[in-house]
C-alpha cells in the first residue's frame, strides 16, 4: 500500500467509527430532542480543541451472540480538549451504540480518561447517556462501574469532577454522578433513578412516570442530586463553561483571576433590606450588589432555597458565597439546607476558594419531621465543614443571628478569620420576644397588666441585647460596619488573608457526620 493509501484507509476507518450507531440510531437520538455524543463534546469544548483516544477500541464479549456484533468505540467517546483555554478530560456515552450500555471495554475507556485527568491534575467532565449495564457482559459490567466509582472517590478533592446527565442514567450508574462535585441536568432529557417505574409498578403497584420519578426537575428541586438545571442542552453547556471559569484546575491551584470590575448596582446596599427582621428580602440582591459586575453564579438554585450558595468574584478573585435566604422559610437551617451548604463549603475548601458567609437567620427549623429526619446530624455537617475549612473565612451578619444558627454560620468560634456585622445585626440566644418571656417571666406574670409588661420587657431586651455591640464588646465581632462599606471591607479582608496558613493535626481523614 502506498503511504497515501494508508492515510485514506485511516480516514475511512475513522469516518465509519465516528458514525457511532449509524444513521438510523442517530435519527432516533435526534427525534428524542438530543444531540449526539460527538456533537455534545464539540459544542462544549473550545473549537478544534478536541482530541480523541481509543476510537478503535472494540469489545471482547462472546456470549449471547455478542461475538458477531461490532459496537463502534464500544459506546463511549473519550478525549481531551479545552474550555476557555482550561485543559479538560472528557468522556461522553454514545446512546446510538447499543444504548450507550456499559461493558468492560466501555468502562476501561472511561477509567483510562479518569486516570489521565487525575495524573495530569485537570478537571474531568462525564456526559452520561446510557441504558445501564450491558447485560450480555454480566459481572464485567458491574466491575466496570465499581472501577469508575473508585476513581471518582480517589479524584474527589483533587480535581473538579463534573457530571452531565443527558439521557437515562439508571441503577448503579447513578452513583458516579453522585460522587462527583457538580451534576448538570436538562429538562425532559435527564433521567436518574435507582429503580425505574417498571420495577416500582411490579413491586408496589404504584404508577409513576419516568419524569415524575427521576426527571431533571425532581433532582434539581426535590432530591438535591442536581446542581444545575437547564431548559436545553445548549443552555446546559453554557452553564458548564461558566462554572469552569470560576474553579481551579486542581487542588494545588487557585481559580483564574479576572480583571476586577465594580458591581453593577450603584444604589445603597442598605436600601436592599428592610429594617424589621420579620420582613423578607432576596439575599441574592445583596450578593449581586457586592460582587464584581453583579455577576453571581448560583448553585442548586431550586433546592433548599432557604440557603443560597454560589460563586462570585471580588476584585477578580473567585469567592464562594453562603447566605441565608430570608425570602424562603425565613432563611432557617434545616436538613436539606445544611447538606447543601456543608458540601459547598467543603468544595471551596478543597479548591482554595475563600468563603464569605452572609448571615440572617432565625435558627433551625422546628418540627417533629425535621428532628426525625436527623436535623442534628445534618446540621452538624455545617459546623464540621466550616470548622475544618482552612481557606479564608469571612462572615457578615446582616440582621438576625440567633442561637445555634449564630454558631453554625461560620462564627468566630468555628474559626472565622473576620467577623463583620451591620448595625442592624441582632446576635442573641433567641429573638427578643422569646428571651423576654423567659428572663422576665416573674415580672410579666406578676404584673397587673401582663401584656403591657411583656411589651415593655421585650423592648428593654431589644435595646440592651438585640444589637451587634454586646458581641463586639467581647471581640466576637471584629468590626461593626455600614452596609455600604461591605464590599471594601471584604476586599481588604481578602487582601490580608492572601497567604493564610492553618495547620491542623495530621490525620488520615476526619469523620464528618455523613
Amino acid at each position: 500500500m502506498s503511504l497515501k493509501k494508508h492515510i485514506l484507509d485511516l480516514r475511512k476507518r475513522k469516518e465509519k467509527v465516528e458514525m457511532g450507531g449509524g444513521e438510523k440510531a442517530i435519527e432516533k437520538q435526534v427525534a428524542m430532542g438530543k444531540m449526539t455524543a460527538r456533537e455534545r463534546i464539540l459544542a462544549l469544548l473550545d473549537q478544534d480543541s478536541f482530541t480523541e483516544y481509543d476510537l478503535f477500541v472494540e469489545h471482547e464479549a462472546k456470549d449471547f451472540g455478542m461475538d458477531k456484533k461490532q459496537l463502534h468505540g464500544d459506546g463511549v467517546i473519550i478525549g481531551t480538549g479545552t474550555i476557555y483555554g482550561a485543559p479538560i478530560c472528557i468522556f461522553a456515552q454514545d446512546f446510538t451504540v447499543a444504548g450507550g450500555s456499559l461493558g468492560l471495554m466501555h468502562a476501561r475507556k472511561i477509567t483510562k480518561i479518569m486516570d489521565h485527568a487525575l495524573k495530569m491534575r485537570v478537571p474531568l467532565i462525564g456526559i452520561n447517556d446510557s441504558g445501564g449495564a450491558r447485560i450480555q457482559e454480566g459481572v464485567n459490567s458491574l466491575a466496570g462501574y465499581g472501577e469508575i466509582f473508585y476513581r471518582n472517590t480517589i479524584a474527589s478533592g483533587v480535581i473538579p469532577q463534573i457530571s452531565v446527565i443527558l439521557g437515562p442514567c439508571a441503577g448503579g450508574a447513578v452513583y458516579s454522578p453522585a460522587l462527583t462535585d457538580f451534576v448538570f441536568v436538562v429538562d425532559q432529557i435527564s433521567k436518574m433513578f435507582i429503580t425505574g417505574p417498571g420495577v416500582i409498578k411490579t413491586v408496589l403497584g404504584e404508577e409513576i412516570t419516568m419524569e415524575e420519578l427521576g426527571g431533571a426537575r425532581v433532582h434539581a428541586e426535590t432530591t438535591g442530586n442536581a446542581h444545575f438545571f437547564a431548559e436545553s442542552e445548549a443552555e446546559c453547556f453554557d452553564q458548564i463553561k461558566k462554572l469552569i471559569t470560576f474553579i481551579p484546575w486542581n487542588n494545588t491551584k487557585k481559580a483564574k483571576e479576572f480583571p476586577p470590575k465594580e458591581p453593577k448596582y450603584t444604589g445603597k446596599i442598605e436600601d436592599l433590606i428592610p429594617a424589621d427582621p420579620r420582613n423578607p428580602y432576596d439575599v441574592r440582591d445583596v450578593i449581586a450588589g457586592i460582587v464584581d459586575d453583579g455577576d453571581f453564579f448560583e448553585i442548586q438554585e431550586l433546592f433548599a432555597a432557604n440557603i443560597v450558595i454560589g460563586f462570585g468574584r471580588l476584585n477578580g478573585q473567585t469567592i464562594g458565597f453562603v447566605a441565608n435566604q430570608p425570602m424562603v422559610l425565613a432563611g432557617v437551617l434545616d436538613c436539606d439546607s445544611s447538606d447543601k451548604a456543608a458540601r459547598f463549603i467543603r468544595f471551596c475548601d478543597s479548591f482554595n476558594i475563600p468563603i464569605i458567609t452572609l448571615e440572617d437567620m432565625p435558627g433551625y427549623l422546628p418540627g417533629a419531621d425535621q428532628e426525625h429526619a436527623g436535623v442534628i446530624r445534618h446540621g452538624a455537617k455545617v459546623l464540621y465543614a466550616y470548622s475544618e475549612a482552612t481557606v479564608p473565612k469571612i462572615t457578615v451578619i446582616l440582621r438576625k443571628a440567633y442561637g445555634g444558627g449564630y454558631i453554625a454560620m461560620n462564627s468566630r468560634h468555628l474559626g472565622a478569620d473576620f467577623m463583620f456585622a451591620w448595625p442592624t445585626a441582632e446576635i442573641a440566644v433567641m429573638g427578643p420576644e422569646g428571651a423576654a418571656n423567659i428572663i422576665f417571666k416573674k415580672e410579666i406574670d406578676g404584673a397587673e397588666d401582663p401584656e403591657e409588661m411583656r411589651k415593655l420587657k421585650v423592648q428593654e431586651y431589644k435595646e440592651k441585647f438585640a444589637n451587634p455591640y454586646v458581641a463586639a464588646a467581647k471581640g466576637y465581632i471584629d468590626s461593626v460596619i455600614e452596609p455600604n462599606e461591605t464590599r471594601n471591607v471584604l476586599l481588604h479582608a481578602l487582601e490580608v488573608s492572601e497567604s493564610k496558613e492553618v495547620i491542623h493535626p495530621a490525620k488520615k481523614h476526619g469523620i464528618p457526620p455523613f
Partner: protein, 106 residues
C-alpha cells in the same frame, strides 16, 4: 425557589416572619402519635398469606400475616396477646410502606 410566590406568616420560635414556603415544607406530614393497636407495613410489598380472621384471639408472637418484600417473606407477628379487630388487607394485595394492615385490641 418556592412554587407559591406569595409571602405567608411563618413562625420560628417566638417570632413570626413574612416569607415564602417551599413545596417540600408545604407537603410535610404532621406528626401523629402511633396507636399500638394499628399495625402498619414497614416496607412496601405483597400480602402473601393472612393467617388470622377478624374476631380471632391471638397470642403474642403468633403470625398475623406474611408480607413478602424484596424477595423476603416477613412474618408480621402479634405484638401482645389480644384479638384481631379488623383486617384491612387481602392475600395478593400489593401495599406501599406505612399502609394500615391490621387493627387489634387487647
Amino acid at each position: 425557589m418556592s412554587d407559591k410566590d406569595e409571602l405567608v406568616g411563618f413562625k420560628v420560635h417566638s417570632l413570626e416572619y413574612q416569607t415564602k414556603i417551599t413545596k417540600k415544607f408545604a407537603n410535610r406530614k404532621p406528626w401523629k402519635t402511633p396507636n399500638p393497636n394499628e399495625i402498619y407495613s414497614y416496607i412496601p410489598g405483597t400480602i402473601l398469606q393472612v393467617n388470622v380472621s377478624e374476631g380471632q384471639e391471638v397470642k403474642e408472637g403468633e403470625s398475623l400475616l406474611v408480607l413478602e418484600a424484596m424477595k423476603m417473606q416477613n412474618q408480621i407477628e402479634m405484638p401482645f396477646t389480644g384479638k384481631v379487630k379488623k383486617i384491612c388487607v387481602g392475600e395478593g394485595d400489593k401495599i406501599p410502606k406505612n399502609e394500615l394492615m391490621i387493627v387489634i385490641e387487647e
